[in-house]
Symmetry: C2
Subunit: 337 residues, 2 copies
């Protein structure tokens, strides 16, 4: 008997398209739930929520719920409502994040807080968050409710942790991993895990899908954080250098600081403290990050977690769903090339 070894490819040009095609019909149903359930008699709510929800996001998290359900050959439709609930949690988080960070650009569009103000963004986020729990309650699985309410609390903890880590140049890689594990990977993990719950699969498969989502989420965030030091605003639809100017300690900076000489360390201390925020300072930051190979090695870390995500799928049957989920990981870690 020969083992099937899915090895992370890095040379090819992997794509999210197989996963998008795999779940296309299901995603139509999810989009219908999303559109139906973001309605309200208060016109500002669908207006503001719709700006972000229709704003060209990849629907990565609900897509993971749907793909995981396909991997398990789930034949029902409970996951449509739950995938919409996952997207609502994510959207609420984005609305609050943009208020917290004072961001003015997301996915290439002006953020809701810039258009409608911070108060509206905070409150519509609260509405979507409540609505996501209403959707889960309608589904009626206490197990799903437990997974997603816990994930939501962990996300909020991760965001507070990140906030208190801001402008702390001595932040190490471990604490950084704690932060992204909570703020990003927890919802990826939960989105995958709940598919196993609705498909009534054994605990081992739940845990495997959780591991797939968690490692993919970490890889995804590592690449996002690397991109902030490699690209211009166009690639991500956000302002390049945002993390830098906000004094966020992401892995490229953590590595560049750890590897830097005294002059480089002085630069990072000043920059992270907020005393060097010009375009020239950002150019210098990019130069230091590149010179210390910190972006390359952030991406190497991403590939490590990506390989773990792929290996977590080992116990599942080969086929279109698994291939698409493997390629989604390859896509996630290849984005920065």
């Amino acid at each position: 008997m020969t083992a099937t070894i899915h090895r992370l490819r890095t040379g090819a040009e992997p794509s999210l398209n197989p996963m998008i095609a795999l779940v296309a019909a299901d995603m139509n149903a999810v989009n219908q739930v999303i559109l139906d359930r973001m309605q309200s008699e208060i016109p500002l709510i669908p207006e503001l929520a719709g700006h972000l929800i229709a704003g060209g996001g990849k629907r990565m998290r609900p897509m993971l719920t749907l793909a995981s359900a396909r991997l398990l050959d789930y034949g029902g439709n409970r996951h449509h409502k739950l995938a919409a609930a996952v997207e609502f949690i994510h959207t609420a988080t984005l609305l609050h994040d943009d208020v917290v960070d004072g961001s003015d650009l997301r996915r290439g569009k002006r953020t809701a807080n810039i258009i409608w103000g911070n108060p509206a963004s905070v409150l519509v986020g609260d509405f979507l968050f409540s609505r996501s729990f209403e959707l889960m309650v309608e589904d009626g699985s206490l197990k799903v409710l437990k997974i997603l309410s816990h994930a939501s609390a962990v996300i909020a903890e991760g965001e507070v942790n990140q906030l208190t880590a801001t402008r702390q140049v001595e932040l190490g890689e471990d604490r950084y991993l704690d932060i992204i594990g909570a703020k990003t990977a927890a919802l990826f993990a939960a989105a995958c895990r709940i598919a196993a719950v609705v498909a009534e699969r054994p605990e081992g498969e739940e845990a495997a899908l959780d591991a797939y989502g968690r490692n993919l989420g970490i890889a995804f965030q590592l690449v996002d954080d690397a991109i902030d030091y490699t690209s211009d605003a166009g690639t991500m639809g956000k302002d390049a250098g945002d993390d830098f100017r906000e004094g966020k300690m992401t892995l490229p900076v953590i590595l560049a600081y750890a590897r830097g000489d005294e002059e480089a360390r002085r630069f990072w201390r000043d920059a992270i403290a907020g005393r060097r925020a010009s375009d020239a300072d950002f150019a210098e930051a990019v130069r230091l990050v590149q010179a210390s190979r910190s972006v390359d090695d952030t991406l190497a870390r991403a590939r490590h977690y990506g390989q773990r995500a792929i290996d977590a799928l080992g116990a599942f049957a080969n086929g279109k769903a698994k291939d698409a989920m493997v390629e989604a990981v390859e896509f996630a870690v290849a984005r920065a090339y």
Copy 2:
């Protein structure tokens, strides 16, 4: 047979003390749950949450859950966790409200957003909100989850409705009642209703407790809104004139505007639009509100809803619990005298 008619007293000096005494032992248990479950490995979370939670609030909403359970002779302890969940929802709402309003004083103390900033207040609010759902999930009643997730969505809708009503001088009494019914009364109603759910009482008693809470909540908010035009900062622990300066259309203003002559209306149009916000302007606002008997009639409206709250208890057995719940209404509507 003689009917027992509980008539709203207005001459005496009603007190919240009978209700506080009624639930004292239960409230100790609730406070323990609150303290346990606001903990986190991220120190800022219990620090910020504790500032507000330990900050001298009346715990009105969890107290209503406990008192309602006593009214029904409920003998279990499930309501302790659920009352804590209700208080977490309320605390999350207060944290976000103070960000939305830019408030600097609550319950006589500096607000969390002033001490720790808006980002921390938004995120810790999100944490408490998630944690409240975790508590409900632990209890395991889908019916309670449905009631409280729906109430949370309604609260958020009410807050957005209020936001879009800000500085709209033409806002009428109906829309104002919609707003306070959602932002305040929905949680009062839910806090009472869930006691009937855990006590496994028939739908009619659920509805009666819901009506008690809802009408009490409306009365409570009406009196709060009246107080803003009658007292100095000391009485409420917030800045007098806050509503006025924020351009909030509360009932005293709605009545004063409706009853005013052309000069008064011009004043209100300018003031609500934000063009008259000095101390002298506020003094003029108080004069106009008093001259048009708008505070008196706001309080008369509060007594109407208070009487409805009391009458909603009609079907329940007389006794200490009912007496305390009646007197709590009397206390709520008498606060402004």
